[in-house]
Symmetry: C2
Subunit: 153 residues, 2 copies
């Protein structure tokens, strides 16, 4: 699939507002609503648009704390990764988890209601995990930008 400037405009607009009407989209990208509909369908079909998600307000839901945790695992036994992946999958406080190159083995993006809930997660769940060797936390003080998605040009 090859993307032209219309597609890029459409994708950019839909990242900002995925509930946009085809008519509004049409106005924004200078195309007819029907063409927007068709291009949208094609982009979804091609898997460029994976889906749509509601963005929720963490503040209004009482989730005041966000943190980035770097984790090192001990040992190198096989099954070590699968084991940690299961741990990640089973803990909804972990919103994102990446295996990374460099100093740490994994980086986790954590959401919690408050510092107590966060400390609880660290001390009752993460640290007791048998393969976790080291944990270093950075708590988010201020969000300068949080766009998710991808910048297209």
């Amino acid at each position: 699939m090859t993307l032209d400037s219309f597609d890029i405009a459409i994708l950019t607009a839909l990242q900002r507002d995925g509930a946009m009407t085809n008519a509004a989209l049409a106005e924004q990208v200078n195309l007819s609503a029907s063409q927007c509909s068709r291009r949208r369908a094609a982009l979804e079909q091609a898997g460029v648009i994976e889906g749509y998600a509601a963005r929720l307000s963490a503040a209004r839901l009482g989730y005041g704390l966000r943190a980035v945790i770097r984790v090192n695992l001990s040992g190198h036994g096989q099954g070590r990764e699968e084991d940690f992946a299961r741990f990640v999958a089973g803990h909804p406080q972990i919103r994102s988890a990446f295996s990374v190159s460099g100093d740490a083995d994994y980086i986790l993006d954590i959401r919690a209601r408050d510092l107590d809930a966060f400390a609880d997660f660290i001390h009752r769940h993460l640290l007791p995990h048998p393969q976790v060797a080291q944990v270093r936390s950075e708590i988010v003080l201020k969000t300068l930008k949080d766009e998710g998605g991808i910048a297209l040009r």
Copy 2:
């Protein structure tokens, strides 16, 4: 605004699929479509749902590289933060930026097409910034989980 179990079910479902039809939502949460519509509107009105966003496939768009960068700034002059905030705002490769407690001053979530584009960003943009004192990168090797949003219970 107070949320009951229906609201939580609706929010959870809409985080997974924000383009869901009210009828589908109704079936999933055991409510009528009209009530789903009303509750949805109320949640949007209250700001609990901030909006909707299209999720794009980084892979299909040729954005193969993701990295987490920890940055330390030099000095403590006032205006230092505003300056760095402007830098962040002006660089679309930076998808998220957080000021954090702990070892680093800022954590950045970076997306780039490939290692070259990433290196270019580091050496031509980030490192030359006058207030950047130290930069430590971790490149994402594998994504175990990437949900964004918030887990409700």
